[in-house]
């Protein structure tokens, strides 16, 4: 690296990162200040930690590996419905946990479609409950996300590389080794670390599909410490364990990622000349087919259940939907303010390790953040009045690592390819963002904004700790319906939630890609 100065100032980025760490640590400290009788971690907590790490590791590895063939197939095939499928990839991730679990059970449950088919064929039925069920659900949540991240990486490989490969008549194996493998080495570790961290905070999915207290995760232990034992010091210690695990996973992954650029291209239209052979075609058809079935069957179940209930949803659901959309928009704005400077800082840093900071947002227990900020706000203001702003902020924090994963690689390329030219033209600071980074990253920024909006829509998060009658978000309203036996209306609310989330995702994603051919 010969560059002495960078086109991007790192100060704002470091400030944003410090803010993120500060917000989370302040919550943990606040909880610690209220801890009266402290107990350390018992054997039950250690076994929860072991189980958590184990299931998260398997889920992360499987989700990332399975995403590779699907992303590759989607990257090199065009077929009717491809755009819709790519949009739907965002769906499972943003669903409230219980909705997704019920959708999965409609397919894989004891009375689900799979077992109905098996028993019709006189085959033994399968039980979803157990470690494999936990992993299945986590793969359902995260495989589509991993696919989206990798698909995006595939599409940033300059068309010139594939042209060269076609010219040299490289075999599929050689194309993989020379073009795709170097890209995957950059993308897969980060994706896997991200999924690992998401699965670290899993609670309801792990418990429900794990089949019982064997599947106790750290988050459940935190929950227990808060409400069963009211042992705040143990809750805080467990939260710190969660953060430490996430931090080490992130550092490890980011350390593995080689810091090389994919190189620039001339933004020629992408075209693939390889993979025309029969075997490659069959592999791709299988990957897309199986992936789509795994994704669409549970989603179909959710839609079917929801259609029946949509007429039963009361007006308050629509009101809550409006609130949720508002919260989502604020989250998106907060995210941009945090993520862009941070991405700029990370992209110009020698090693990307600082990206680990971004993972704090998902690694922190929502219960811990909510409680900590409740303690901090309570002496000065009515926490209930601040419920929606706090929710928007926390949702933005949760989306931050995804946004960074999306923004950092292309920004790093942009800085490497156009940094020198920009500096020669004194394009630094805001003008660099305005004229170089933002236009070049428009598709990624749109994707990140859409994902944040959708994530924010679907998150129950801290609102449950702060809410009153008048300030409810759609997921909370859905849970309230379920709590009042209104399962059908709740399914209707879930469908509205799914449609709105996907709608927000689609609009931003589309706006980002529109006219982005340059």
């Amino acid at each position: 690296m010969a560059l002495r100065a960078f086109a991007i100032s790192t100060k704002t980025g470091i400030g944003a990162a410090a803010l993120v760490v500060g917000l989370i640590l302040a919550a943990v400290c606040a909880v610690l200040t209220r801890a009266e009788f402290g107990s350390g971690l018992g054997p039950a907590d250690w076994s929860a930690i072991r189980f958590t790490v184990f299931q998260a590791a398997i889920s992360a590895v499987l989700s990332s590996l399975l995403a590779i063939p699907i992303a590759r197939a989607l990257a090199r095939r065009q077929f009717p419905g491809r755009g819709l499928l790519v949009t739907l990839l965002g769906a499972p991730f943003i669903l409230p946990v219980i909705v997704a679990v019920l959708g999965l059970l409609t397919v894989f449950g004891r009375a689900g479609w799979l077992n109905m088919a098996l028993s019709a064929l006189n085959l033994p039925t399968l039980s979803i409950y157990g470690l494999h069920g936990v992993v299945l659900a986590h793969v359902f949540f995260n495989l589509p996300l991993a696919t989206r991240l990798m698909l995006q990486a595939w599409q940033t490989i300059p068309a010139e590389r594939f042209r060269l490969a076609a010219q040299l008549d490289l075999t599929p194996r050689a194309v993989f080794q020379s073009i795709e493998w170097p890209m995957l080495r950059q993308i897969v570790p980060g994706t896997a670390a991200l999924i690992f961290v998401i699965c670290l905070t899993s609670f309801a999915v792990a418990l429900t599909l794990g089949g019982g207290p064997r599947a106790t995760t750290i988050e459940l232990a935190i929950y227990q410490a808060f409400r069963f034992d009211f042992d705040l010091s143990r809750a805080a210690i467990l939260s710190l364990v969660q953060l430490a695990l996430a931090g080490s996973a992130a550092l490890l992954a980011l350390w593995i990622i080689p810091s090389v650029s994919m190189g620039g291209g001339q933004d020629r239209p992408r075209q693939r000349w390889d993979a025309r052979g029969g075997v490659q075609r069959i592999i791709d058809i299988l990957a897309i087919g199986i992936g789509a079935l795994f994704l669409l069957l549970p989603l179909g179940a959710i839609v079917t259940r929801g259609l029946a209930g949509i007429l039963l949803t009361p007006a308050s659901v629509w009101q809550a939907a409006g609130t949720s959309v508002g919260v989502a928009m604020v989250s998106i704005a907060v995210l941009l303010v945090l993520a862009l400077p941070m991405a700029g800082w990370i992209a110009t840093a020698k090693r990307g390790s600082v990206e680990a900071v971004g993972l704090f947002g998902v690694a922190a227990s929502p219960l811990m953040i909510g409680t900590g900020w409740f303690i901090l706000i309570n002496p000065f203001a009515d926490p209930v009045a601040l419920a929606l702003p706090v929710t928007a902020l926390v949702n933005a924090l949760m989306a931050l690592p995804f946004a960074l994963r999306i923004l950092v690689p292309p920004l790093r390329d942009t800085v490497q390819v156009y940094g020198r030219l920009s500096q020669a033209l004194s394009l630094t600071g805001w003008p660099f963002w305005r004229w170089v980074a933002l236009p070049r990253l428009r598709p990624q920024i749109g994707f990140a904004m859409g994902l944040t909006g959708a994530l924010s829509m679907g998150d129950l998060g801290v609102i449950a700790l702060f809410a009153d009658q008048d300030r409810t978000t759609l997921p909370l309203q859905m849970y309230r319906l379920m709590g009042s036996y209104q399962m059908e209306a709740a399914a209707g609310a879930a469908l509205i939630l799914l449609a709105l989330s996907l709608g927000i995702f689609w609009i931003f994603d589309k706006a980002g890609r529109m006219n982005a051919e340059a």
Partner: protein, 230 residues
């Protein structure tokens, strides 16, 4: 007057020493074997490669640590001289205002620069839809509006055909003559030297030699240069 005083540029285990002056309004060719450090020398002048020792002085001011954009020079690289997502007008406009707030006068200036390089009707096109020669002209239009005292060329026309390349070199020559800028140009081709250069900076064996008048040097090269010229 631009002076490299006792300068040493190091990159990993490579190092290049230079102690030379560049005068305004003259045209210099930088020649030497591949890997000798010609691009590194330009990078150091432009601020992309730091000096390990020594100073860079311009008109008595020490600009050793000045940011690239704050130096009295403009440079065309071997590639990626234009932003593919911006129009030709925007790319050239960046040379005037890095915040792109172009006034009517600025726009007129960009337009006249574009006419000067015969791209008047291409202002709204993106670089991807231009030919190689047109892309080079667009970059030259920017050099024109930047109007810096020194213009550095790191073989930006290497990919063009001989006729087109000569056309570009002639255009460059006209432009620097019009603006009164000094030209420092890396080249491999002795014919380019004959075509343009007043003086030659020969780079070899870790040393960037002080400029010498082109004609005398090429007519009567020292042994190292003779070996390079073949």
């Amino acid at each position: 007057m631009l002076k490299l005083e006792q300068a040493v540029i190091t990159q990993d285990d490579f190092s290049l020493r230079a102690d030379l002056s560049i005068e305004p309004h003259k045209k210099y060719a930088v020649i030497g074997p591949s890997g000798a450090g010609k691009s590194t020398l330009l990078g150091a002048l432009c601020g992309f490669v730091p000096l390990a020792h020594g100073r860079l002085i311009w008109d008595g001011r020490d600009i050793t640590d000045a940011a690239p954009g704050a130096r009295p020079m403009t440079m065309l690289f071997q590639d990626n001289n234009l932003f593919p997502h911006l129009s030709v007008m925007q790319n050239v406009g960046l040379g005037l205002r890095s915040d792109m707030r172009l006034t009517a006068d600025d726009r007129a200036e960009v337009e006249s620069a574009l006419s000067r390089v015969s791209l008047a009707d291409m202002a709204d096109r993106k670089p991807g839809s231009l030919s190689g020669g047109q892309q080079s002209r667009a970059a030259l239009a920017r050099v024109l509006v930047q109007a810096r005292p020194f213009v550095l060329l790191d073989e930006p026309f290497a990919a063009l055909g001989p006729a087109l390349r000569n056309e570009m070199l002639d255009l460059v020559q006209q432009l620097v003559t019009e603006t009164g800028a000094a030209l420092i140009m890396v080249t491999h081709d002795p014919k380019d030297v004959a075509r343009i250069a007043d003086e030659v900076i020969f780079v070899a064996n870790g040393i960037a030699h002080a400029p010498e008048p082109a004609k005398e040097l090429m007519d009567n090269p020292p042994p190292e240069l003779r070996e390079y010229l073949g």
